[in-house]
Symmetry: C2
Subunit: 357 residues, 2 copies
């Protein structure tokens, strides 16, 4: 049977500690050349909605040790509106019922069969959180207990779950531009994590004295600035442009997720004219030579050095997502889903064939 799982199923099947564990195991495989990941590609074309583009995004990964290959697909209507001072990248829920479209397909490395298909939302959030969690595990001070976070959305939640999974966090201070959002988020996360999560009115108030400074926004502009950097701080980001270059320069040690410089972009001719500037902005690498920065997998296997003292400023940039993460986290989900009771079981024959493709 091929399993069709829902986000709700994935949510039940995957805890943050499990997500971090399986990612850690998989990154060792990646560092040793036994796991593989195919750079994300974005195919971008015009769509009916004004000021929007259609993006068909895909990324693949295979982890032989875990026995799983994954393809993650997004079929997005994307806009780039201004929110306050910053440009954000916004996916429009344009599918029937005002829904988004993202899928993960999991395959067996041993016989090729399609194991499961599911929406990507919960898994995508967990793997971003889990990856930044590993950044904290390997780079933040062991005694880190205060988190400042910029952002109060879907990603911010899993960032906090991850921080709490790898450090004994006592307090979180959260800033995001809209008061209502940050207060709602603080109340919810406080309940979920069982620690104090406080909404604050200025980003500086979130960052001052933070042991771990987390950026978890949808911004395409800088949101974390150099004056906020303090000795011993670990700074962590889910997207390249969040941290301004001057702040990165103050870091003693920067580790990135992967050396892929940017997604492969293929665009129709007209889109190339209209969107290149924004896309370039979004992928701007400034003065950093991303191709030569140490990566999280290298850090995990000890090939790249970690924090050398409690005074060091460390930084983890989750610079690009990997299809490989979905193979890893997908393997963990599948393992438990097989115990039964989850999702819809469809005949595998629907997704296989008796003719040589």
């Amino acid at each position: 049977m091929t399993l069709i799982l829902s986000n709700n199923d994935v949510d039940k099947l995957l805890s943050m500690p499990e997500c971090i564990d399986v990612l850690e195991e998989a990154y060792v495989e990646l560092a040793e050349g036994r796991g593989i990941t195919r750079t994300r590609s974005d195919s971008i074309a015009p769509t009916q909605l004004p000021d929007a583009v259609y993006g068909l995004k895909s990324m693949d990964g295979v982890c032989p040790k875990l026995g799983v290959g994954a393809v993650r697909i997004n079929s997005d209507i994307v806009r780039f509106p201004k929110r306050g001072n910053t440009v954000v990248r916004e996916k429009v829920p344009a599918a029937p019922g005002n829904r988004w479209v993202g899928l993960v397909l999991l395959f067996s490395v041993d016989n090729g069969e399609p194991l499961a298909i599911m929406p990507d939302g919960v898994m995508q959030r967990m793997r971003v959180g889990g990856t930044n969690g590993l950044g904290i595990k390997y780079l933040a001070r062991k005694n880190a207990e205060v988190v400042g976070i910029l952002g109060s959305g879907w990603q911010a939640g899993s960032q906090l779950m991850a921080a709490c999974a790898v450090r004994d966090i006592k307090q979180v201070r959260c800033f995001s531009p809209t008061r209502e959002n940050r207060e709602k988020f603080a109340a919810e996360m406080s309940g979920m994590l069982g620690i104090e999560v406080k909404a604050v009115d200025q980003p500086e108030d979130a960052m001052k004295g933070a042991d771990i400074a987390m950026c978890a926004s949808s911004s395409l502009d800088n949101i974390f600035f150099a004056p906020w950097v303090e000795a011993g701080m670990h700074i962590t980001s889910i997207k390249r442009p969040e941290i301004e270059m001057a702040a990165l320069r103050k870091a003693d040690r920067i580790v990135i997720h992967n050396n892929d410089e940017k997604p492969i972009h293929v665009m129709t001719r007209d889109i190339e004219l209209a969107e290149t500037a924004k896309e370039n902005g979004w992928n701007s690498v400034g003065e950093l030579d991303f191709a030569n920065l140490p990566t999280l997998p290298e850090l995990i296997v000890g090939r790249a050095p970690g924090r050398a003292s409690d005074r060091e400023v460390t930084c983890f940039l989750n610079n690009i997502g990997l299809g490989y993460q979905f193979a890893a986290v997908g393997a963990a989900v599948i393992r438990k889903a097989k115990d039964g009771g989850f999702g819809h079981e469809l005949p595998t024959d629907w997704f296989t064939e008796d003719v040589h493709p």
Copy 2:
């Protein structure tokens, strides 16, 4: 509803003339920069079966005019056995029920929604046939009526269907190494096409006097040789190495499918050692500068010149498959499938989500 179609459904929904028509329309869009295709990627890793590798292959394409984006995925167990004098690339049907695994996912460019999921077999065969059919339409002599074909498999069938769709073919002569296969194929195709299809005992017997020489094998070695080239012949191939370089040199005009030189290969460390030679062999371009040969879309819009005289030797190399073909042919299938009665209708909500991915 998201449609789950079978190969049988696709077979009923798509005739070769329709396939050729929609591909022709889509190639115009591609030539004009309004359609886009993302180079195929092969992620290759070890698997349990001895002497085999696991390959997770994907390719994407978007045709805004037809309103469809496509991702085609193959999850293959691949072997490279010797068959007679040649090395072939063989996909092992290792999935439950001895089946292969290839999928096409179709999405709406207008709202992103998942329109359909189906096995890739029939569509993949039709688009290869249709593409080579367009090569014949734009390059072969108008009065071509004799086809010689090397190969008697799944692909050979759609090659003949395509030739008959664009030229008034009177006779086909077929050679493949195993007598039983070629005789069975000849009988079947003769019935299907309503013309004489004759199995012959030597490749030379198939090629001598042929107006159109078709290669449709699974060989990774040369199978078509220079002495067989005749004035006025159109030579057509579904895979790079089929035609030997000396034969290509005799062509007055060579057109390829696409300028992508080869798939993007990502491999685990051990596979890189074991398989690179074979993979390189398979993608060998010899002395031809593939990046600068004219392409089928350019030929169709008149940017590349076609046949100049009845004496010219022309050649079409279907050098690489494109995700874009699946967007085009998929659009034609979807259009008719919507009329109802085909496949399984699943709730679109299973493949969409209410959280921002």
